[in-house]
Subunit: 196 residues, 4 copies
């Protein structure tokens, strides 16, 4: 079953690349690193993906699929709380322990990465939040809230400021409620109801 093996090898390469690119960034990652992690010869990367760059593209194109499913499900007023959990408290070990958006900043010198990030932010966060915003400029309100989520992710995992690095979801809940309500112009909740 060589067909299966091929697919399995491809998948292992993608997985290894995802982790390396996230943890170390595009430039600091070598194709040999990736191939080594996957336990295969480095030339297979060129055989399967054409080039390091195209492998990177495929990894980042994969991004939204990596987001937790069912994010939009549940009461509207808890959406921001659910998003925060996705950004900050979800298990991102597949991406080296950080939210892929945060990880991809490391490669943000490359325009493709920026584009992928924009798509991801807009499609996953801004679009969903805009529908909730009341008052004028819902787009800007939605983006400002997205910016906050991204900023929290960065300060928590990359910069590791002391209070945020040690904060639990419950510690953040009241502030989520306050800021989300302030920006969206409507009452929001800081905790998903399923978790009390």
């Amino acid at each position: 079953m060589p067909k299966r093996d091929r697919e399995a090898t491809r998948a292992r390469l993608l997985e290894a690349a995802r982790l390396r690119f996230a943890r170390e960034g595009y430039d600091a990652t070598s194709v040999r690193d990736i191939a080594g992690d996957a336990g295969v010869d480095a030339t297979l990367i060129f055989r399967y993906f054409g080039s390091k760059k195209r492998l990177f593209d495929e990894v980042t194109a994969d991004l939204p699929a990596g987001l937790p499913d069912g994010l939009p499900d549940g009461p509207e007023e808890e959406l921001v709380a659910r998003m925060l959990r996705a950004v900050v408290f979800h298990d991102w070990t597949r991406y080296g322990g950080e939210h892929p958006l945060v990880a991809m900043l490391r490669s943000s010198a490359h325009d493709d990465a920026r584009q992928r990030m924009r798509q991801e932010v807009c499609d996953t966060y801004v679009d969903a939040l805009r529908d909730l915003a009341e008052g004028d400029g819902p787009e800007l309100r939605a983006e400002l809230l997205s910016a906050w989520l991204v900023g929290i992710g960065i300060l928590r995992s990359v910069v590791a400021t002391p209070a945020l690095a040690g904060a639990s979801a419950d510690d953040l809940a009241p502030h989520v409620e306050a800021v989300a309500s302030a920006l969206l112009g409507r009452p929001m909740r800081g905790t998903p109801s399923s978790e009390g």
Copy 2:
């Protein structure tokens, strides 16, 4: 203006390095790139700084000095508004058009860079904001507000989401007022008084 001027050459190398490191990150920048931009031989980098790493250190150690002076001056309730202007609307061309903190994320695979970022965020933003926060957990409140500023900087200049990329300081003012007040637990203003 002598051609062989140690200090001038050193300064040009630092300037070129600052820009390259900001725009492309540490790994994607070569000492030849920097020397080329500065119009001098690459060996001078080793003569003056010892190594590429030490040049990077010197560039990033220079960071706080690069912040706009007089940030803490002025009424307390306008501090956040002034900070936002510093992060987003200041002229950061010396750093490739982005706030140095944002630019440094590109090198965040290196622990030194993370440390410098932490220091910068804490010393410049969190410390000043913590003194203003009322209610319990002032540290966390201050960090959450800092996270917002950082997130806005990123979405605006790196990710370039449409509404934020086109927003003026005045567009942001009401939201600054709302979020800052919500997080600090006291009334804040969204616009520095000197600008109406």
Copy 3:
């Protein structure tokens, strides 16, 4: 004779390295020199040997194998004569025309090289001679005789003093007999019997 033959390329690199290291010493030899002599790309040195240093190690570890086989065979009293032929009259073109021990002196600023030389001198010469020495201090006697052989090799091929440079094996024979007998405390012969 396939063009892409790992073992063959490796062997050519070793051969080229042996010659260069012998003729010019470790420091004066560059990996590009060696690769150029072998007619291959310099990166293969790192692929096959890891580093210039490890290539040098492999070359010098190869040393004893490079000595003429069958040295210990034959009558005891002719051993020194056979050794002298090995040191001086053997065809050392593979090592640039000099006995490898002599060649390695050129790299003797490096401790590894000294160690290899010590091993070689002791294992190949001193050990064999000690068993023949009579009287007290057989070790010292054996070393002093080894020193003579090494000194002859140096004066003949490196320093090229006139009489030694032009001397034949037969010219040396009576003196070999005299000195070997004097140092070992027993009658030795200056000429291998097979050569009259």
Copy 4:
């Protein structure tokens, strides 16, 4: 007194070069090393000597002057014993602890060094010994004895074979007597009379 300073600096450079070249060989020694040891700027080397090579030449041309004075004085039959002391037991710290001849082998890839060594060996050792040799081929006899002295120097200080490295002058005396007598064809003594 700038004239004096110039001469003093020149002398310090020569001294430092002598030591470095002896200890590490020509190739492994950099002009910066030498200048650093002498406590002056590296460019002075080019000012005073023209190039690294010419500095090396000057250092090696200095060689015979470095030999202990009064070597030929004293009874003829003790000459070899005195020479051995000069080669092996003299204080050669000025040359990095080894006899300059031995040290110069490290640079023997350079033809100039070989030539200097030949001159040194012939003028200082062979010439003096030839006059003592009896029987035919006095030149060859003298060279073979010189070879022994050189070989002892090398095995003792470079290769560091165990017995020779720990041997005292007295340990060597009987063998010196035996070998010198055997090679020169006349009775020689192993110990200078002044030392018993």
